[in-house]
Structures are given as structure tokens and as C-alpha cells.
């Protein structure tokens, strides 16, 4: 052991870079330290809460998207579905006076959209990138058939706004929801049979089929889980905006997919972790937050993540190329 240490002295940096999430963790640390030095308003409790709060919506859906990308499929319709589902949530609560029914309707709607996406992909054999872009278009248009304007809060249930703006033990409720989703996703992917088979489906669908499984079934599950999580996020969003917004969620799918890719999940499937996704969501949201704190031009909030994404994928490829060589 000692001899390899001395043999490989520039080792620590290299080991960090080559470990599964070392690079992401390093980027996050550099960002946090850098911003902490640049402005004294960054390293405060309230700012940490704000960053986590903002991360929660993206993270909830990104956990599902991680599973989906691992099976080598993608869902571009999550943003459009989020907006539609938020209208469904609010309209259902208005009609029934029950938050539980509203949440159920939102989750069922999202899961239903996921199921349709899955069927289009696995039965009609339409490439999921194209199929879900089509779904996005249908949802973007369809939501206006459902409502021409924002669905307002007519029920005024006191508990409803608390879903997004409440705190439990000093932690915002959406952060708790996202944490539970991420923890379940993490365990499911790394420890359970179905997580294993998601990975196998993406790594080699034919080998998975030859081994006596149906890759289509796992893809379907991943689509439905992603959709259901969109529905869950829609409950939070409706509460946050105190309205169902047909125009919300624009570009949301890009943020989610960028985070998942940044987190080391392969677009080709078969590789990815929820931990990577968590780190990546935090990185993107810390960048967002930093740009506002430093009073930089807000357009950079879109530009910078683009640059970070390219850099991260480049580093990842180099790392993998090195292993292969």
C-alpha cells in the first residue's frame, strides 16, 4: 500500500477525479468556497434553505429522469406535464375541497402521461426523444383546452399553501419531500432487484431479454415513475404559485435532463446514480443562486449551466477514455 502511495504521488487529485462522484463533489465544494469568499451573503442559513428549496422541484423529477435515462429512454414532456398537472391539482381541490384528492389526481395524471409515453415508446416503437416531444406539444396545446387561464385557488384551504411554503423542524416541506424521493430512488437503484434490472436494461437490452426479462416492462415502469413524480412536483408547484399555471414549467425539462446528465448518468443508458443527480442539481442551483447574489446578468443563469454541462461531460469522457486505454 505504502509503496503505491509513493509511486503515485500526484495521486490524491487524480483519485478524486477518478472516483465515481469526486469531480462533482469537487465542483460543488469549489463553488461553495468561491461564493463564500466572494460574498458574505452566500454562507448563511437562510440562503442554504433557499437553495435547497429551489432544488427540490427539480430534484423530485430528476430522480425519476435518472431511472428513465438509465433504461436508455428520455422524457421531454415533463415540463409541459408539470404545468398541466398543476392545473389538474388545483381544479380538483377546487371541485372536491380535498387536498388528498387533488394530489392523487395530479400524480395519477402524471403517471398516466408516463404510461402513454411508455406505450408509444415500447409498443409503437417511436424513439422516446421524438415521442415525448410530440407529447410535450400535445400537452402544451391540450392544457388550453382544459383552461384558458391560470386555475386560481378558490378553496382557500389553510393547509394547501403550507405544502410549498411550510417548514417542519426548520426544513422547508418541499425539501423534505424531495429528500424522501431521492432517498427512495437512491436505495431502489443501488440495492434492489428492480434497480439492477433498470441498469441492465440500459446497459444491454438484448442481453436482458435473453436472460429472461422484458426490457419493455422496466422502461414502462421508469416512464410511469417519472410521470408520477412530475405529478408530485405539480402538487408542490401549485401550492408554491397558489395557482395552477398552464404556462409554467417552460424549460423545466432541460434543467432536469441537464442535471441528470451532469450527474454522470449516460444518455446511452446503463449507467447513473441518484447521488450524482443530487450533486448535479445542487451545483446548478448554487450557480443560479450565485449569479443572483453577485448581481450578474440573469441571462447567465441559462448560459453558465450549459457551459458546466459540456465541461462535465468532457471530463467524464476523458476519465472513461483513460480507463479504456
Amino acid at each position: 500500500m505504502a509503496s503505491t502511495e509513493t509511486h503515485d504521488t500526484p495521486g490524491l487529485f487524480r483519485r478524486v477525479m477518478e472516483s465515481e462522484h469526486g469531480f462533482l463533489a469537487l465542483v460543488l465544494i469549489v463553488l461553495v468556497v468561491g461564493l463564500g469568499l466572494a460574498t458574505d451573503r452566500f454562507l448563511t442559513g437562510s440562503n442554504a434553505v433557499a437553495i435547497l428549496h429551489q432544488s427540490s422541484l427539480v430534484l423530485i423529477v430528476a430522480v425519476g429522469m435518472t431511472l428513465l435515462l438509465i433504461t436508455a429512454e428520455v422524457d421531454i414532456s415533463v415540463g409541459a406535464s408539470l404545468a398541466f398537472a398543476s392545473c389538474i391539482v388545483m381544479a380538483t381541490i377546487n371541485a372536491t375541497g380535498s387536498i388528498a384528492l387533488g394530489a392523487l389526481a395530479g400524480v395519477a395524471f402524471g403517471a398516466g402521461i408516463g404510461l402513454i409515453n411508455a406505450l408509444v415508446t415500447t409498443v409503437l416503437r417511436v424513439n422516446s426523444l421524438i415521442g415525448t416531444i410530440a407529447m410535450m406539444m400535445m400537452l402544451n396545446g391540450g392544457v388550453y383546452l382544459f383552461t384558458r387561464e391560470a386555475v386560481q385557488n378558490h378553496h382557500q384551504l389553510p393547509l394547501f399553501p403550507k405544502i410549498a411554503t411550510g417548514f417542519i423542524a426548520g426544513i422547508p416541506v418541499p425539501v423534505l419531500i424531495a429528500a424522501v424521493v431521492a432517498a427512495v430512488g437512491w436505495i431502489a437503484l443501488s440495492r434492489t432487484r428492480i434497480g439492477r434490472l433498470f441498469l441492465a436494461t440500459g446497459a444491454n437490452p438484448r442481453a436482458t431479454r435473453l436472460s429472461g426479462y422484458s426490457p419493455e416492462r422496466f422502461k414502462t415502469v421508469a416512464f410511469v415513475v417519472t410521470g408520477a413524480l412530475v405529478g408530485l412536483a405539480a402538487v408542490v408547484l401549485a401550492s408554491l404559485l397558489n395557482a395552477g399555471q398552464p404556462t409554467a414549467g417552460q424549460g423545466f425539462e432541460l434543467t432536469v435532463i441537464a442535471a441528470v446528465l451532469l450527474g454522470g448518468t449516460s444518455l446511452m443508458g446503463g449507467r447513473g446514480t441518484v447521488l450524482g443527480t443530487i450533486l448535479a442539481v445542487l451545483i446548478l442551483k448554487v450557480i443560479d443562486n450565485g449569479i443572483i447574489l453577485l448581481r450578474w446578468n440573469q441571462d447567465l443563469q441559462i448560459i453558465v449551466p450549459g457551459i458546466v454541462l459540456i465541461l462535465a461531460l468532457y471530463m467524464d469522457q476523458r476519465k472513461r477514455g483513460h480507463h479504456a486505454g
Binding site: 439492477r196 444491454n204 429472461g212
Partner: protein, 499 residues
């Protein structure tokens, strides 16, 4: 003849060495080849053959040693340098532009540089035709390369060598995807090249080919030179010993075994694309070989048998139960599984660990309440790696890093761990070293002796004849011949295969 030896060899390599991070890929290797001569370069995977030819092609720069052509020392820093020195390598992965015509590909460099100017089109066609004439090739210079079979694409590559007046042509496993007729034609081409005074380095591990066309053999093992001898001084066994480093007494061991109950009963099996009305039985403790040329339906049958591909007519019964619904889930439950011919596309999860590759089919057994018991999983995987002597550093290393033979053993373990009754092996030794081949042959015999029904799909005649208890020959999706072990001959089988 005598003046040939006095002449400087067409190519002389002395003390060539190449190091990669952590590996000495080639260590002090020397060889020479004369004009008009075929040198066979032999060795198992990882022996250093491809490193050596990549240095001759100018892809890698050597860390030590010299390369001389006709007595002159050469330093290549790019493939263009090697070509300029008269060395042309025909790689396994053919490097032609599929959308260009044959003639354009032959003069690709000049074509791209626009060196022929306006009259170029006619000029390059004329010159391409001239080369085909000289070499005796029957190729249309105007055909698009993508429309040509691999065998003809190889000839286009060789024509490129001739167009550049190459004096040394290196062929890397040229017959790996050719039909027997195409192999015959290639050998005629090689004879022709010899007569034109071209030196040829022929990389292969199909020993019967070596004995047919090579004048000399150089064997490498683990990056080192082992032997250089005229082919006439070698026997099959001596070559294998040089390559593997130990003596392999019996390529095809055979345990005495008596067939048991019928495990596979196929009646009137047809698929929409190819297979027509196939009927046969396979019993426990039996190896049944299916032979066929490319496109005869071997792989189609293999995939239909395990429920992977749909069938249009007929029935498949495994241990007396119908394979219905016709899917791999049912197949696995009834106890039939396939080891695919295409390890990369249909077998391996390349970036996944050895353990996870091995336990893919058996995951349910290691699952408790939805969670995978990784300790039990690792223990089981360790058992199989020990039993099959799978060479690797750690169980959690990516399977990509293992050799083809070891990868194949992992995939075989995937099914053995699950416990099948019937195993379908489609080209189980494709791309595998001689040493590992012998081990897999022994394993197939062992499986049959344990009571497995083994269905072997192969295009390798020695393998077919050496392993099978009974043989069926496929051609155009039909069974065109059946033989028992005693009655099977190479001629009889080939005869049925071209019916």
C-alpha cells in the same frame, strides 16, 4: 531462390518494444519477411499482434527497436508515413468510405486532395480497372462500397495497397467474416500477390489456414517473441503449444455418456423470415450440432428456440412443456437459455462488473423482499470464477477489461448458475484464443456428461465434428442433412450445406 536470401528482407523488425501505462505490450520482438513470401503472425489475444501491426501501420510510435524496409531504417509518425514506405495494413474493421465508389476509395488520398483535377473521374476509373486486371479481381469500379460484401471490400483495400505500390501487405484476421468460398478466393488473391513479389504478413489464429498458405510462422506470447520457423517444421500441436505455452493433448475430450430423456422436441418450426418446417429432438446428455453457412439460419434458430424471436408456425416443447407464451421469460422458467454469438451486443454489459454480469439471469435467487443480497451474490460469483478459472483482478472490475475467453466463461456461468436443462450455444468460440477454446470444449463435454442437452450452432468444421453426437445441416432455413457421429464427414456436411 538463393539470391532472395542474400537480398535484404522486404521488412525487418528488430527489438521492437511498446509500453502502455502499466503494461509492456510488446517486449523486444524481432521478425522478418521477404518479398513474395507469406509470414503468419500467430498468438493468442493479448500476445501483442495488434500492437505490432499498429506500429508497422504508423498508428503507434515504438518505444524501442527498429523497423527497416529493404535494408533502410524507417520512422513512422503517421499512417501516411507507413504507406509511403510501402506498408499497407488491411484491418479487420475496413477503413473505406461507404458512400464513395470503389475507384474513389482506391485513390482516396489523391481524390480528396483533388490531385486529378477535372479529368480525375475518368482517370481514376481507368487506373482502378488496370489494377483489378493486374490482380485478377472482378469488381465494378463504379459500385458504391457500401453495396459490396465484406469480401469485396477487402479486395478494394488490397487494391489500395497495389495503387500505392505497396511492397508489404499486412492482413489482420482477414477470414473472420468470410464464407468458405470467399476464403478460397482470398487465398488465390494471396498467391497472386506473392507472384507479384509482395511480402505478406498474415495474422490469424485459424491454424488450418496457416498450414495452407503461410511459408513461415512467427509466434508471439504475452508480448514476447516465442518462435520463428518455416511452416513445414510445424505441426498443429507444436503451433498450439507455442501459442498457449503449454501442451494441449486433446482439443476435444469426450466423456462416455448415454443420452437420457428427450428435453427438446421441435415440430414444424417456421419463422416469417427464414426458417421453414424444422423438426428435431434433443435428449439429455447429448450435444447436437447445427452447421450452416452464413445466412443458413443458425442464429435465427437459436433465437427462436429460446423464445427471443417470434415463430410463425410449429411447436417447441422443453422437457415436455410447451414454450408458450413464446418469450425468454417462459424459456428461462422451462430451463432453456442461449449463449449468443454476439457477446458485445447480446451478452455483455460491458461497463458493468463481472459479478453483475454473471448473476443477471439469477437475480431472483439473490433477492429478498425486493433487495439484492450482494454478499450471497458475490459468494456465488466467486464460486464460478474459481471453478472455471476465470482470470481477472477483482470481481467488481468492468467485464470490458477481460479477455474474450474469460468473458465467454462469465456468460456461460450466467446460465449455469441459473441451472438450465437445455443450453443453446451459438458460435461459442468466436474470437476466442486457442487455449480458452480448448477449455470451453472441455466444458461443453462436461455439461453433456452432467445431463444437459447441448445445442451447438457453429460454422467451424473441426468444432462441429469434434463435439457433436448428432449433426443437422441447415441451408436456406431448412434442414438439408442429418448425420450421426460415426457417419459425419467434412465432405458430407459441406455437401449438405450448399444444397
Amino acid at each position: 531462390m538463393p539470391d532472395k536470401t542474400k537480398q535484404a528482407p522486404a521488412l525487418r523488425v528488430s527489438g521492437l518494444t511498446k509500453r502502455f501505462p502499466g503494461v509492456l505490450a510488446l517486449d523486444d520482438v524481432s521478425l522478418e519477411v521477404h518479398s513474395g513470401e507469406v509470414l503468419a503472425l500467430l498468438g493468442e489475444n493479448g500476445a501483442g499482434k495488434s500492437t505490432l501491426i499498429k506500429m508497422l501501420a504508423g498508428v503507434y510510435v515504438p518505444d524501442g527497436g527498429t523497423i527497416e524496409t529493404k535494408g533502410q531504417e524507417r520512422h513512422f509518425t503517421s499512417p501516411a508515413d507507413a504507406l509511403a514506405a510501402g506498408i499497407k495494413v488491411v484491418f479487420q474493421e475496413i477503413a473505406l468510405v461507404p458512400e464513395f465508389t470503389v475507384a474513389e476509395n482506391i485513390f482516396l488520398e489523391d481524390h480528396l486532395a483533388g490531385r486529378f483535377g477535372k479529368v480525375g473521374w475518368r482517370e481514376i476509373r481507368r487506373r482502378a480497372a488496370e489494377i483489378f486486371e493486374r490482380a485478377g479481381f472482378d469488381i465494378d469500379p463504379d459500385a458504391k462500397v457500401r453495396d459490396l460484401p465484406i469480401s469485396q471490400q477487402q479486395l478494394v483495400e488490397i487494391s489500395r495497397a497495389l495503387a500505392h505500390e505497396a511492397e508489404i501487405v499486412i492482413m489482420d484476421e482477414p477470414t473472420s467474416s468470410l464464407t468458405p468460398a470467399e476464403v478460397r478466393h482470398l487465398f488465390q488473391v494471396i498467391e497472386r500477390l506473392k507472384s507479384l513479389g509482395i511480402a505478406i504478413i498474415y495474422v490469424s489464429h485459424k491454424l488450418e489456414e496457416i498450414f495452407e498458405i503461410a511459408d513461415h510462422c512467427t509466434v508471439l506470447r504475452d508480448g514476447r517473441w516465442v518462435s520463428s520457423k518455416p511452416t513445414a517444421e510445424h505441426t498443429n500441436a507444436s503451433l498450439v503449444t507455442d501459442m498457449v505455452g503449454r501442451e494441449i493433448t486433446d482439443m476435444f475430450p469426450r466423456t462416455d455418456r448415454t443420452p437420457g430423456e428427450t428435453l427438446v422436441k421441435v415440430e414444424g418450426l417456421s419463422t416469417r423470415r427464414l426458417l421453414k418446417d424444422l423438426s428435431f429432438d434433443v435428449r439429455a446428455g447429448e450435444v447436437v450440432g447445427f452447421f450452416g453457412l452464413m445466412g443458413a439460419g443458425r442464429t435465427e434458430l437459436a433465437k427462436a428456440l429460446v423464445g427471443y424471436d417470434p415463430i410463425s408456425e410449429g411447436t417447441i416443447r422443453i422437457a415436455d412443456k410447451p414454450l408458450s407464451p413464446h418469450d425468454t421469460r417462459t424459456g428461462k422458467a422451462l430451463g432453456i437459455g442461449l449463449l449468443s454469438e454476439d457477446r458485445k451486443e447480446e451478452g455483455l454489459m460491458l461497463d458493468t462488473s463481472v459479478t453483475r454480469n454473471m448473476t443477471l439471469a439469477t437475480l431472483d435467487r439473490f433477492t429478498k423482499a425486493g433487495f439484492v443480497d450482494t454478499a450471497a451474490e458475490t459468494k456465488a460469483a466467486q464460486g464460478y470464477t474459481d471453478r472455471f478459472r476465470i482470470k481477472m483482478a477483482r470481481l467488481d472490475q468492468a467485464i470490458r477489461t477481460l479477455s474474450g475467453g474469460n468473458q465467454q466463461k462469465v456468460l456461460l456461468s450466467r446460465w449455469l448458475m441459473h441451472g438450465l436443462k437445455v443450453i443453446v450455444l451459438d458460435e461459442p468460440t468466436r474470437g476466442i484464443d486457442v487455449g480458452a477454446k480448448a477449455e470451453i470444449f472441455a466444458l461443453i463435454d462436461e455439461l453433456a456428461a452432467e445431463g444437459f442437452a447441448v445445442i451447438l450452432m457453429t460454422s467451424e468444421m473441426p468444432e462441429l465434428l469434434g463435439l457433436s453426437d448428432r449433426i443437422f445441416v441447415l441451408s436456406g432455413g431448412r434442414i438439408t442433412g442429418s448425420f450421426d457421429r460415426a457417419g459425419a464427414t467434412q465432405e458430407g456436411v459441406l455437401d449438405a450445406a450448399i444444397k
